[in-house]
C-alpha cells in the first residue's frame, strides 16, 4: 500500500516537474493573450469614459493572473474559472441584458436617447427657403484653420466668404475658377481637397452661415443652400415647436414621444423605462394572453413528441447496428448520420417545398392531393416528420455511444438469470441508457421548445384560421411572439424581451424538474 502511494506521489511529482517548462511557457503565453485582450477591451472603454467597464475588465484580469500565478492551493479554481467566465459571458449577461431590455420600450422609433431624437426632428425639418439662391460652394480654411464656405451665385456672379459670424463679400478678382467652374483659389483662404473636407465632415455639417431668414448650409461639397429648421426644441416647455404652423409637441417622458394636443406623436421617439408595462401587457392583453394557452399546449406537444420520436427511432437504429457481427456497419452508420451533417436551414426549406400541394415531391410520388400545410393536423404531422428526419441521427449517435458503454457482463448476467431479450432490454439496458441520456433528452426538449427555424421556415406558423392571422396551427410561443413583436409597426424589442423572460421561466422550470428526476434515477441505479 505504502509503495503504491509513494509511486503515485512520485509520478505526480514527476508529472509536475515534467510539465514545468512547457507548463510555464503555455501559462505565460495564455496570460499574455489575456493581458492583450484586456488592453484591447479597455482602450475603447477609456475612450467612452466607461469607468465601470474598465473596473470590471481590470478586476477580471487581476483575478485571472492571481489564480494562475499562485501555487497549486487554488487548483480547483483553476479548473472552475474558465467555465465560470464563459457562463457569465454567454449565459448570465444575455439573460440580464434581456431582463433590462424588457422594462424599456426599446424598439423601432425608440432606439436612441432624447437628444438624438431632438437632433433628428430638427434636421428632418430643415427646408430650403423658397426663392433663395442656389450657391456653388467650395470648402476652405482661413489663416487660423477655421472653416469657411466660399460661396458663389452663378446667377448674379457674386462671391462671398461665410463663417459662423456671417457673410463677407469677396471681389470677383480674388477668386479663381477652374475649367469645370469650380472655385479653385480664393485670396486669403486655403481651399480644402475633398479628402481633407471629408475628415472635417462633422464641422461642415454643423456650420450654418447666419443670414436673414435662415442659415446657409453645405449640401455636399460643391453646393450650398439657404435653409431654415422649422421645428426647434424649447427647453423651457420641454416641447418641440413648429415655427411655420405654430404646432407644439410636448415631451411625454412615460412613452418616449413628443405628443401634440390631439394625441398625435412625432415619429422620432426615444428610449425610456416603462417599468412592468411589457409584462402586464403579456398578462392582461387579450390579444396576447388569449392564444397563449392554446399555443402553449402545442408547444409542449411539439417539443415532447419531437424528442420522443427522434429518440425512439435513433435508439432502434442504434440497437440494430449494435450487433457484433453485422457487415458494413461503418457504411450504415455513415448513411444514418447524413441528415445530421446537412445544414438544417437548407433542409427545412427543401422539406417545405416537398410538402407543396400541387408541385411537392410527396404528393407527386404517392399520387396524393393533400394540402399538407392547409390543415392544422396534417401541418403538425408534417413538421414532426421533418423534425424526426432532422433529429434522429443525433439520438442515434448518443444512443450508440451509451450502448457501447454498457458492460456486456451485465447483460450476460441477466441472461443467466433467465431474462428474455426484451426483458433484458426493458429492465437492464434501457434504465442504464436513460441514466446517461436523460440530461441530453432534457436539453433536446429545451432546444425544441424554442425551435424557431423548424416552424418559421416550413409552415411559418400556419395554417391560419379564417379571420385569425395572429396565431396559426403550428405556432410555437417563439414564432407567435416573433410575429407579435416584429409584425406590427416595426420591431418592439422591449416587449419581445418580456415574452422571452416568460419562455425562459417555462423552459427553466421544466428543465429543473427533469434534472431532479434524473438525479433520483441515478441514485436508484447507482
Amino acid at each position: 500500500m505504502d509503495a503504491v502511494q509513494t509511486a503515485s506521489r512520485q509520478r505526480s511529482k514527476q508529472g509536475y516537474a515534467g510539465s514545468g517548462l512547457t507548463g510555464l511557457v503555455v501559462r505565460i503565453t495564455l496570460l499574455g493573450v489575456v493581458a492583450a485582450l484586456a488592453v484591447w477591451a479597455v482602450l475603447p472603454l477609456i475612450g467612452a469614459r466607461s469607468w465601470i467597464g474598465v473596473g470590471v475588465v481590470a478586476a477580471a484580469t487581476a483575478l485571472l493572473f492571481w489564480i494562475y500565478l499562485s501555487p497549486n492551493r487554488r487548483l480547483p479554481l483553476k479548473y472552475l474559472i474558465p467555465g465560470t467566465l464563459l457562463l457569465i459571458a454567454f449565459q448570465i449577461v444575455p439573460v440580464l441584458y434581456t431582463l433590462s431590455t424588457s422594462v424599456t420600450n426599446f424598439g423601432d422609433g425608440h432606439r436612441g436617447d432624447k437628444d438624438e431624437a431632438i437632433v433628428s426632428i430638427e434636421t428632418a425639418s430643415i427646408t430650403q427657403v423658397p426663392g433663395s439662391p442656389e450657391y456653388d460652394l467650395a470648402i476652405a480654411a482661413d489663416g487660423e484653420d477655421a472653416l469657411v464656405f466660399i460661396l458663389s451665385d452663378p446667377a448674379s456672379g457674386k462671391y462671398w466668404a461665410g463663417n459662423a459670424e456671417g457673410l463677407r463679400d469677396l471681389a470677383p478678382t480674388d477668386v479663381q475658377k477652374g475649367l469645370s467652374g469650380k472655385i479653385t483659389e480664393a485670396e486669403g483662404y486655403t481651399i480644402l481637397t475633398a479628402a481633407e473636407a471629408a475628415e472635417r465632415s462633422q464641422e461642415i455639417t454643423d456650420l450654418a452661415v447666419p443670414v436673414d431668414g435662415g442659415g446657409i448650409r453645405a449640401n455636399g461639397l460643391s453646393r450650398a443652400f439657404q435653409g431654415t429648421s422649422a421645428r426647434a426644441y424649447d427647453e423651457g416647455c420641454d416641447c418641440v415647436r413648429d415655427a411655420v404652423t405654430g404646432q407644439v409637441w410636448t415631451a411625454d417622458p412615460g412613452h418616449g414621444y413628443f405628443t401634440d394636443a390631439a394625441g398625435e406623436s412625432l415619429p422620432q421617439g426615444w428610449q425610456v423605462s416603462v417599468g412592468a408595462d411589457n409584462f402586464t401587457r403579456v398578462i392582461t392583453d387579450d390579444k396576447v394572453r388569449g392564444p397563449f394557452l392554446s399555443v402553449l399546449w402545442w408547444n409542449f406537444a411539439f417539443a415532447i413528441i419531437s424528442v420522443l420520436v427522434t429518440f425512439v427511432l435513433g435508439l432502434l437504429c442504434a440497437i440494430a447496428l449494435h450487433k457484433e457481427r453485422l457487415r458494413f456497419k461503418a457504411l450504415y452508420r455513415t448513411l444514418m448520420v447524413l441528415p445530421y451533417a446537412m445544414p438544417a436551414f437548407a433542409m427545412l426549406l427543401i422539406w417545405r417545398d416537398m410538402f407543396n400541394q400541387d408541385f411537392g415531391l410527396i404528393n407527386t410520388m404517392f399520387g396524393l392531393d393533400v394540402g399538407w400545410f392547409s390543415n392544422p393536423w396534417t401541418a403538425r404531422f408534417a413538421v414532426i416528420l421533418v423534425q424526426l428526419w432532422l433529429g434522429f441521427p443525433y439520438m442515434f449517435l448518443v444512443s450508440t455511444g451509451a450502448l457501447q458503454s454498457i458492460p456486456t457482463e451485465t447483460l450476460e448476467a441477466a441472461k443467466i438469470d433467465g431474462a428474455t431479450g426484451f426483458q433484458a432490454f426493458r429492465r437492464v439496458t434501457l434504465p442504464l441508457l436513460l441514466v446517461s441520456l436523460t440530461p441530453l433528452l432534457i436539453m433536446s426538449f429545451a432546444f425544441n421548445f424554442n425551435n424557431f427555424n423548424a416552424i418559421q421556415l416550413t409552415t411559418g406558423g400556419g395554417p391560419f384560421e379564417a379571420g385569425n392571422s395572429t396565431v396559426g396551427g403550428t405556432d410555437l410561443l417563439i414564432t407567435y411572439t416573433y410575429r407579435l413583436a416584429f409584425g406590427g409597426q416595426g420591431a418592439e424589442y422591449g416587449f419581445a424581451a418580456s415574452v422571452s423572460v416568460f419562455i425562459f421561466l417555462i423552459v427553466a422550470t421544466v428543465s429543473a424538474i427533469g434534472f431532479r428526476v434524473t438525479r433520483n434515477q441515478e441514485e436508484v441505479y447507482r
Binding site: L24, I28, L31, G32, A35, A38, V39, W40, L43, F65, L69, D108, G109, R111, G112, S120, T123, A124, I126, Q128, T193, A194, A195, A197, A198, S201, Q202, I204, T205, A218, N219, G220, S222, R223, P267, Q268, G269, K287, D353, N356, Q357, D358, F359, G360, S374, T459, G460, G462, F464, E465, A466, G467, N468, S469, T470, R483, G487, G488, Q489, G490
Partner: protein, 411 residues
C-alpha cells in the same frame, strides 16, 4: 523561485500585451491614411455593380470609397449600425423603408435643386417624399406587369376574365398545366395580390390632401375591401390563384412553359430570357367592368445616413452625383432596372423595349406606402389572401385581418 516565475510571467505577459497594442497602434496609423472617405452599403446584388464603379467614383469625388455588401436584412442592420458607431455614409434600399428609417433617426433629407427634381420621373420623386421632405435620390423604378408567353398566347388579354378564358382553353388542350402564375404561397403575398385587390375597388390607406398616406384611414375591412376579396375568392375557386404557387416556383413555372401567364417584375426577365421563352409585357388586366389593376411602384434609392462619419461627402455623392445621367445609365447597364432619371430612361429605352412596357404597366401606380404603419399590413393581409384563395369565408377573414391590422396600428 515562485516569485521569480510570477515575475517572469507578468513581465512576459505585459510585453506580449504591449507588443499586441503596439501593432494595433500601427494598424490604426496605417488605416488613418487609407480610411475610406465614404462607406456605401448595398445588398449583395447591387454592391458588385457599385464596386465596379468605385475607382471612377474615387477619382471624380477625390475620396476613397468602400462598398460593402450586406446580404441579409440590410434595413435592420443599417438601423442597428446607426445606433452604434458603425453606420455607413450611404445606403441603397427601397423607398418603403423611409418611414421606419426616419422614425429611427437613421437618414437625413436630401436637398435637391428644382432642376434636379425636374429630371426625375415624378412618381419616383413622389415615392421618396415623406412628410414633405425628399429623403433619397431615386435611381430605379420597378413594378409588376403581366408577362405572357407569346407562343402560347399571342394576344394580350383585355381583362382577367378574358385571360382566364384563354388560359382554360390552353389547359384543356394540354398545352399548359396552370392557368396563371401569380405568387400566393401558404402565407399569402400582399405585394402581388394588390393589383387584383385594387382593380376590384379595394385600397390599403386613404390619402391625405398632400398625397401622403393617412394611417387613420385603413381600407382593409371596409365594404370595398370585402367585395374585392370576393373577386379574389372566385379566382381561387377557379384555380387561377393557388396557394401552392409561391415565390420559389412562380417564375420557374413560366420559364418551363407550364403556364402562359406570369405576374412578376423586371427581376423575372433575366430568367425568362435565359430560358429562351418568347414573351411580351403588358399591363396587368383588371376585372371586367372594374378599375385598372394598378401595381405598387417600388423605387430603389440612395439614402444619406444621419450617423455617418462623412456626411458631407455622402450628400455630395447622393445629391450631386447620383442624380447625373451618366451614372444612372451605367447602373442600368450593369443591372437592367428602369432608371428613375428621365434622361437616362429615354436613352436606354431605344435599346430595351421591355423598359417602356414595364413603365406602361406601372402608369398611374401608387408608390408603395412608406409609412411605418404599412409594416402592420403585410402579414395579416397576406394571410387573409392565402386563406381566401384556399376557400375561407371572405367576410370573416377580411374582418379578422382588419382587426389585427387596426390593433397593431393603434398600439
Amino acid at each position: 523561485m515562485r516569485v521569480k516565475i510570477a515575475g517572469v510571467a507578468v513581465a512576459a505577459a505585459l510585453a506580449l500585451a504591449v507588443s499586441g497594442c503596439g501593432s494595433d497602434d500601427k494598424k490604426d496609423d496605417g488605416a488613418q491614411g487609407s480610411e475610406p472617405g465614404l462607406v456605401i452599403w448595398a445588398d449583395d446584388k447591387r454592391a458588385p455593380v457599385l464596386e465596379s464603379f468605385r475607382s471612377q467614383f474615387e477619382s471624380e469625388l477625390g475620396v476613397t470609397i468602400k462598398v460593402e455588401a450586406v446580404s441579409k436584412d440590410l434595413q435592420a442592420n443599417f438601423v442597428t449600425a446607426s445606433q452604434g458607431d458603425n453606420a455607413p455614409d450611404v445606403v441603397i434600399g427601397a423607398h418603403d423603408w423611409i418611414g421606419n428609417l426616419v422614425q429611427n433617426g437613421a437618414i437625413d433629407p436630401v436637398q435637391l435643386t428644382d432642376a434636379q427634381k425636374a429630371g426625375f420621373n415624378p412618381d419616383a420623386l413622389k415615392a421618396v417624399t415623406y412628410n414633405g421632405q425628399v429623403y433619397g435620390a431615386p435611381y430605379a423604378v420597378e413594378n409588376l406587369a403581366l408577362i405572357r408567353n407569346t407562343d402560347l398566347a399571342p394576344e394580350a388579354p383585355s381583362s382577367i376574365e378574358d385571360m382566364v378564358a384563354d388560359a382554360e382553353k390552353l389547359k384543356k388542350d394540354g398545352k399548359t398545366e396552370e392557368l396563371l402564375s401569380l405568387q400566393v404561397g401558404d402565407n399569402g403575398d400582399a405585394y402581388h395580390a394588390y393589383p387584383l385587390y385594387a382593380s376590384a375597388g379595394g385600397y390599403l390607406f386613404g390619402q391625405k390632401d398632400n398625397g401622403d398616406y393617412d394611417p387613420a384611414d385603413l381600407g382593409v375591412g371596409k365594404p370595398e375591401s370585402i367585395e374585392a376579396f370576393e373577386k379574389i375568392s372566385e379566382l381561387g375557386k377557379k384555380g387561377v390563384l393557388k396557394t401552392s404557387i409561391g415565390s420559389e416556383n412562380s417564375i420557374p413555372l413560366f420559364t418551363e412553359g407550364k403556364t402562359a401567364y406570369l405576374v412578376s417584375g423586371p427581376w423575372a426577365v433575366g430568367d425568362i430570357k435565359k430560358a429562351g421563352v418568347n414573351y411580351d409585357i403588358t399591363p396587368i388586366p383588371g376585372f371586367e367592368g372594374m378599375g385598372k389593376a394598378t401595381p405598387f411602384l417600388g423605387v430603389q434609392s440612395f439614402f444619406v445616413a444621419s450617423k455617418g462619419k462623412h456626411k458631407t461627402v455622402a450628400q455630395e455623392f447622393v445629391a450631386n452625383y447620383v442624380t447625373g445621367e451618366p451614372l444612372a445609365t451605367a447602373l442600368y447597364n450593369a443591372d437592367p432596372r428602369p432608371p428613375a432619371l428621365t434622361a437616362s430612361f429615354d436613352k436606354v429605352k431605344a435599346t430595351d423595349p421591355d423598359l417602356a412596357k414595364f413603365a406602361e404597366a406601372g402608369a398611374g401606380a401608387p408608390p408603395l406606402p412608406a409609412i411605418p404603419e404599412m409594416s402592420a399590413i403585410w402579414d395579416p393581409f397576406g394571410k387573409a389572401e392565402s386563406a381566401i384563395v384556399g376557400g375561407a369565408d371572405v367576410t370573416e377573414t377580411v374582418e379578422g385581418a382588419a382587426t389585427t391590422i387596426g390593433d397593431a396600428i393603434k398600439k
